[in-house]
């Protein structure tokens, strides 16, 4: 079950649970976790172990059978990331899932070899994100078969080889982000007709081949046993039935924060991922977080870069650097949906300008970005670009040195060109 070096340790006589110790435990073998493990192993961080609950490591790119991953297809990107981590000397274990905590830095694990308790000097959480399912979107109607997320669709096609009628014959895709296009392409590649893409936003990136109903929403699912159609309300307020046997809900990401939250790691109220500083330290000493867990989906190369960032902070921690204070919290306002990291050291402790990822809630042509701490304006600038809700803006926080470490939260606000905030 292990792609890497053997597993040291001894059995716990009481519960039959294996108790082990490692230097760094990385939970999640996707782009973020693997990049962190590779860099740490190269840097000689001691025993670096990656836990991946799936049968193979690599994360989401494993089932994205197309280009767009730093010049590679998803599966190639995933394999290269695994190889880099293993070559660097990290232990990449598959079929091993972290299920909870037995202490501040002790993780409970289930694997076919038995339950374990692994204590680490540093734990890196890189558990990724998922799409909000139909139920959580509160879409009314019946509960028929044939309703899925992009994640399930891609795995069905890329990992389990399902084609055509095994998936369905006529599909409707829901979503406004590029992932809706990926879903439509995956469906067509598998021989399923895409009846339409229902995109709630009236604008957005080019979407999949079939008709795109912009500004429309699915208001009801129809069919027993198997889906037979969806009722769609169009931009003009009129409703109609689209006949289909398959419905794919795409996007609307949620950080997979279960392990973080059950370990008492405080969350950022905006992103619902762990609250972190620019070194990707959580508020719990020794626990770090990276990748899509922080705030939902960014491109895989961004997640991998965060893996490298977190590796440097982990390395410093292992070398005995004190756990920094919380810094000041950053708050998103106006048309800014969320930002990350959500905490910054400011004033003399600020260091070189950290990059903050800003995710707009709306399409914003050249919006105004203002940064304030209380009544004090720290920064104001017109962003010379068209911002889209499916893309983040990288904002170097040069203003951090000017903020007051005792001055409380800093708010970042995006407003449309005319100064108003679109609703």
């Amino acid at each position: 079950m292990s792609d890497g070096p053997g597993v040291p340790g001894g059995a716990d006589p009481s519960g039959g649970r294996l108790e082990r110790a490692v230097d760094v435990l990385v939970v999640g073998g996707g782009p973020a976790g693997l990049a962190a493990a590779a860099r740490l192993a190269v840097a000689g961080a001691g025993r670096v172990e990656v836990l991946e609950r799936d049968r193979a490591a690599g994360g989401v790119p494993r089932h994205c059978g197309r280009g767009g991953f730093g010049g590679f297809t998803g599966p190639v990107f995933a394999r290269r990331a695994v190889r880099a981590a293993v070559r660097a000397g990290a232990a990449v274990r598959t079929g091993a899932g972290a299920t909870g905590w037995a202490g501040p830095l002790t993780v409970e694990v289930t694997a076919p070899t038995g339950p374990e308790r692994i204590t680490a000097r540093a734990v890196v959480l890189a558990t990724g994100a998922r799409e909000r399912p139909r139920s959580a979107r509160l879409v009314p109607g019946t509960r028929p078969a044939g309703v899925l997320s992009t994640g399930e669709l891609q795995q069905s096609v890329e990992l389990f080889g399902l084609r055509g009628g095994r998936i369905g014959r006529r599909a409707v895709v829901v979503g406004s982000d590029p992932v809706a296009r990926h879903a439509a392409r995956t469906l067509r590649g598998a021989g399923v007709t895409v009846v339409a893409t229902v995109a709630d936003r009236p604008y957005g990136p080019r979407l999949g081949g079939g008709p795109v109903l912009r500004g429309a929403t699915v208001v009801e699912l129809v069919g027993r046993g198997r889906l037979s159609g969806v009722v769609v309300r169009g931009a003009d307020g009129r409703t109609g039935l689209l006949r289909c046997d398959t419905l794919v809900f795409t996007g609307d990401w949620l950080p997979d924060h279960e392990l973080a939250r059950s370990g008492g790691v405080p969350l950022d109220p905006g992103t619902r991922g762990p609250s972190v500083d620019p070194g990707l330290r959580t508020s719990v000493p020794g626990v770090f977080a990276a990748g899509n867990l922080l705030r939902g989906v960014e491109p895989a190369v961004v997640a991998a870069a965060e893996g490298r960032t977190v590796a440097d902070a982990v390395h410093a921690h292992l070398a005995g650097a004190p756990w920094p204070g919380p810094g000041v919290p950053l708050r998103a306002e106006g048309a800014l949906r969320h930002l990350s990291p959500g905490r910054l050291p400011v004033g003399p402790a600020a260091g070189p300008a950290p990059t903050v990822l800003l995710r707009p809630a709306e399409r914003l042509p050249a919006p105004l970005l203002t940064v304030r701490q209380g009544d004090r304006l720290l920064y104001e600038c017109r962003v010379p670009a068209l911002l889209e809700p499916h893309r983040s803006l990288r904002h170097p926080a040069h203003w951090a040195v000017d903020a007051d470490p005792t001055g409380g939260a800093v708010t970042l606000r995006l407003a449309a060109e005319d100064g108003t905030v679109p609703v």
């Binding site: 019946t142 078969a145 997320s149």
Partner: protein, 473 residues
């Protein structure tokens, strides 16, 4: 003993003979009746229209094991719930059905409701339940610190419990089949040709004709339609829909008891209850409909539930929703069940089992067998039922993924397939090979919890489906 899903049902297990009893409808009630009959040397069949047991109202309820404290005193329902509750609690312990005796609090939000609490305590006594206790507002908030502001007090019913609604009928059906009952699925009964004094009834099903001496109607919402097949028109079933919202497991720490509404002028209100799977449930609505298949949710229903939920437990609405579903209660206009023996027809109707049938099921099983005996069925000697031990789906009891000994013997129990619900390959394999195996992914979910979690299949859906369709290799 057998489970069949296709072909002409074998109605002549003994040469020239018919079944002694056919129970029509494999909901929790029909399964309990079949199990009770299996104690006797009788040829019994349980015949179900859909592809699995428990596919009707029995799969979509609020899963409370009631004490019967608020039943209408003196009714059959009152007695069945009281007896059934005790029987099921004991049976659950014996067979591994998860039950948690969390207790219920009837929370009063205004003076009228507060004034109603002593009357409810009195009604409980008339139903033979003597352990209710009034709680002051301070005591209530000490018990339920996350309760919304404005509650004035509560009545505690310490013996109300939560139970697994999926394992319960499955345990009955499994035990019935192992004890010799034939279970015929995908076998709707479309016509009944009543037999004469010496002739068996002939049941025309979609799969062929079945013959039986005695007949039990446990058709749930369709009990009136089935009665009509025998020329009886004693009541009409009106489906009363209950929509429910199941919240993420992170909501579980917000609530410790079943929070019941106080029935009053403004209608019945909704409850908030933990589930044995570690979630929190909000609902149900109560909508009188005409369509017996209207198990969909509606935007209005969900909005109303959320508004009520926010008042009772404000933190609940901050958590994600894991599932939404709706079930239909078999209302008949009476404040009681509609159970009747028709000895001349060698026929018993067990209908109108409205909103307490899960709790009452074992008592209804006993009661029905007594009615059959009264109608002339010779039961013969009693013998022990085949033992059953059900896989545990409850969070409060040990699960395989944490069991070192089990995993050491069989690594499939250390291979988690559904990560949200921590369902292992071993459990899925066992369910697929079980006495009453699932016929669909939903059936597999009700037997294992696979795909029932917060990701709803994002991570594991394809893998679970492949195991279901290709089998476990």
């Amino acid at each position: 003993m057998s489970v069949t899903r296709r072909g002409v049902p074998p109605d002549t297990p003994a040469p020239g003979g018919a079944y002694d009893v056919v129970v029509v409808g494999a909901g929790v009630v029909g399964c309990a009746i079949a199990r009770e009959l299996a104690r006797h040397p009788l040829r019994v069949a349980l015949v179900e229209a859909s592809g699995d047991i428990g596919e009707g109202s029995s799969k979509a309820n609020t899963a409370i094991l009631h004490t019967g404290f608020d039943a209408v005193p003196g009714t059959l329902e009152s007695r069945m719930v009281r007896e059934g509750g005790r029987l099921l609690a004991a049976y659950a312990e014996e067979t591994g059905i998860p039950v948690e005796r969390v207790g219920a609090l009837l929370v009063a939000w205004d003076e009228e409701q507060l004034a109603a609490l002593p009357r409810l305590a009195d009604k409980a006594r008339r139903n033979g339940y003597h352990r209710t206790r009034p709680l002051s507002a301070a005591e209530l908030y000490a018990r339920e610190p996350c309760l919304g502001p404005g509650a004035l007090g509560a009545l505690e019913v310490p013996d109300e419990a939560i139970v697994c609604p999926w394992t319960t009928p499955l345990a009955y059906a499994t035990q019935a089949v192992r004890s010799g009952v034939d279970l015929h699925l995908d076998c709707p009964v479309e016509e009944v040709r009543p037999g004469g004094a010496a002739e068996p009834h002939r049941l025309v099903t979609r799969r062929g004709v079945l013959r039986t001496r005695f007949l039990v109607n446990a058709c749930g919402l369709y009990a009136d339609a089935f009665d009509a097949l025998l020329g009886r028109k004693d009541f009409t079933v009106t489906p009363r829909r209950g929509q429910l919202v199941v919240f993420d497991k992170f909501a579980r720490e917000l609530v410790r008891h079943i929070l019941l509404p106080v029935p009053g002028a403004l209608g019945k209100g909704v409850l908030i209850a933990p589930t044995v799977y570690g979630n929190v449930m909000l609902g149900p609505t109560a909508e009188d409909l005409t369509d017996k298949a209207a198990t969909g949710s509606t935007a209005e229903g969900l909005a109303a539930l959320r508004a009520q939920g926010r008042r009772i437990l404000p933190g609940l609405l901050d958590e994600e929703v894991t599932a939404v579903y709706a079930g239909l209660r078999a209302a008949t206009g009476a404040e009681d069940y509609r159970v009747a023996a028709h000895p001349e027809l060698r026929y018993v109707t067990v209908g109108g089992i409205r909103s307490t049938g899960l709790t009452a099921s074992l008592a209804l099983g006993r009661h029905t067998v007594e009615l059959l005996a009264g109608a002339g069925l010779e039961l013969g000697p009693e013998r022990p039922l085949a033992p059953v031990r059900m896989p545990n789906l409850g969070e409060a009891f040990p699960r395989p993924y944490r069991d070192a000994g089990l995993i050491a013997r069989d690594p499939a129990y250390g291979t988690i397939v559904c990560h949200c619900e921590r369902v292992t390959l071993g459990e899925i394999r066992d369910a697929l090979a079980s006495t009453v195996p699932p016929a669909s992914l939903d059936g597999l979910r009700r037997r294992t919890r696979a795909r029932a979690g917060r990701c709803q299949g994002f991570s594991c859906g394809a893998a679970v489906r492949s195991l279901f369709e290709e089998g476990v290799r």
